[in-house]
Amino acid sequence: MSVLTLRNLSVRIRRHGLQSAPVAGVDLEVGEGEILGIVGESGCGKSLTLLALMGLLPPGAAASGSAVLAGRELIGASAADMTSVRGAELAMVFQDPMSALNPYLRLGVQVGEALEAHRGMVRAEARDAAEALLRAVHFPDPGVALTRYPHQFSGGMRQRATIAMALACGPRVLLADEPTTALDVTVQAQILALFRELREATNTAIVLVTHDLGVVAALCDRVAVMYAGRIVESAPVDELFARPLHPYTRGLLDSVPGSAGAPAKGIPGVPPDPRDPAPGCAFEPRCAWRLERCLLERPALTPRDGARHAACHLEDAP
C-alpha cells in the first residue's frame, strides 16, 4: 500500500527573469513503513523535491504536479492545510543538526512543541512526552537533557534530538535530507541504526536523500536514482547494486572506490545546467552506451521486470 505517491512533481525557479526547472517531473511511490533512498549528485534536485513536499520551498520557487500523502494532495495545498500536515503526518530531518535547532531554546521546548501544536497537549504533558521521545532515541539522561541547550550536545546527540522532534506526533512519512552527512563516520552508523530501529517500532516510512551509496546499502529497502531533476532508475536495493539498468547508476557504482576490486572510475563530464534542458536524454552527453535515439528523444521512466523502473532506451543492462 502506497502511503506517498509523487506524479510528475516539478519545481520551477524564477530568479531575475531566468527560469529553470531543477526538478523536472519526478515519479515515485513510497510504501507504508518502507525506507526509500533517493540518491544522486549535488544539484540533481533531491533536496528541493523534499522541500516541495513540505511546502517549504525558498522564495521564487514553485512546485507543480502531484504528491498525495494518505489521500491528501500536498502540491498547491493552502498554507493552513500544510501547517496541519507538517509535523503531524509528514515530518522532516535536515542535514545540519546544529543550525536546525534553535540555539536560544531548551531542548525540551523544541522537542515537545509539535505535540502542543498538533495534539493540543499542555506544556507539562508535552514535556513528559518529550522525555519519553529522547529516551527512545537513546539519550542517556533524558530528564536533564530537556533542560539543556543544543550547543551543550555533540553532533550525534543533536541529530538524535531532531529525529525525536520529527517523530513526536507519529507521522506517516519522515523525510530526511542527508541526515548523516554532517556527522562523523562512527556516529553515522549509529544514526542509521536508529532509523532502522524506529521504523521497526513505529512503521513510519522514511524517504532518505543522500549522495552516499554506502548509506543506501546500509539502510534502504528501495532506492531511486536521480539525475538532472528526474528519476532515472528505481529498484529494490540489492537488485540495483547487482544489476543497474541505467548507465548513470552504472557509473555511480563504478565510482565507489574499491567496488569489485577495481579502482574508482568517475563519470566524465558534468551534469547539465537546469536552465538549459536538452530535448533528449539528459545523461546522453556523458553516456558510454548512447544511441542516436538518445539525443532526440527523452526516455520515459518505464516499468521493468520485478518492481523496477528505468528511464533509458537501452533494452538490457549496460
Binding site: 513540505m54 517549504l56 500544510m82 501547517t83 496541519s84 500536515v85 507538517r86 509535523g87 503531524a88 515530518a91 522532516m92 535536515f94 545540519d96 543550525s99 536546525a100 535547532l101 534553535n102 540555539p103 536560544y104 531554546l105 521546548v109 512543541e113 509539535a114 501544536a117 498538533h118 539543556r148 541547550y149 550547543h151 551543550q152 531532531t162 522532534m165 520529527a166 513526536a168
Partner: protein
Amino acid sequence: MLRFAAWRVLGAVPTLFVLVALSFFLMRAAPGGPFDTEKLLPPEIEASLERAYHLDEPLWRQFGRYVAGLARGDFGPSFQYRDYRVSELIAAGFPVSLKLGALAMLLAVAAGVATGAVAALHRNRAPDHAAMTAAMTGISVPSFVMAPFLVLVFAIHLDWLPAGGLSGAASYVLPVVTLALPQIAWIARLTRASLIDVLSSDFIRTARAKGLPERTVLLRHALKPALLPVMSYLGPATAALITGSVVIEQIFGVPGLGRYFVQGALNRDYTLVMGVVIFYGVIILALNLVVDLAYGLLDPRVRHGD
C-alpha cells in the same frame, strides 16, 4: 558567566582611565588659564588664586588630586558660576535630562521595533518601502533641523503643542519625539535586517517544518534572536541620545545637563565642560557594560559556557 562578567568590567577600566586622563591633560594644555577671560588681574592676586586652585603644583600631583576628587564625586568648582561646584550643577541638570532621555529611549525602542518588524514581515512590499524611506529620513535629517521644523509646524502654524519649556505633559511631546526620531530610524533598520536574517535561518525552517502556527514561529523562535542585536545597540543608542539631548535642550529651552554643557562650552567653563564629559562618559561606559552583560545572560551559548 562570571568570568565573562569580570573580564568585561575589567576591560572598562582602561577606557575610563583614558577618558579622565585625556580630559584632564587637554584642559591643562589649553592656551590661557581659567582667569584669562576677564580683565587682567594683578600678579599677586593671580598667584594666590593659582595657589587656591592648586594650579602651581606639579602636573602629576594635580592629576592625582583630580582623580581623588572624582572618586569622591567632586568635579571641582565651576569657573563660570563661581558660587557652585560642578557636581551641584550636574545634580541640578541631570534629572531633567534623564527624564527626557528615558522617555525618548522607550519611544525609540517601541516605535523602532514595531516599524522594523512590520517592514521585515512585508518585505519588499509597500509597507517595507514606506517604513525604510521614513527611516532613512530620520537618519538623514539632523535633529537640529527636525526640531525647529516640527516647532514651526506643530507649535507655530498648528498651535497644537507648546514650543518650549517643560510644564505639563503636552510640552514633553515635541522634545521627546524629536530626540527619539533618529533612534527610531536606526532601531527600525536594525530590527528589519535582523528579523529578515533570523527568518531565513535553518532553525526557523525547522520550526515551520514541525507545522507550528506562524505566530508561534515568530514569537517563540524568531523574536529573541532578532532582538538581541537591538539590545546590543542600546549602548550606542544611549550615547546618541545623550549627544542629541544637547541640541534638543538648547532648542526647547529645557534646563537640563546638555544646556549647562553648551553654556559652559561657550563661556569656556573648563571644569564644567570636563565634568560633564566625564560624567556622561561614565554613564555611557556603565550602560555599555550593562548591555554587554545582559547579552551574555540572554544568549545561552555564553551563559552556559561553550
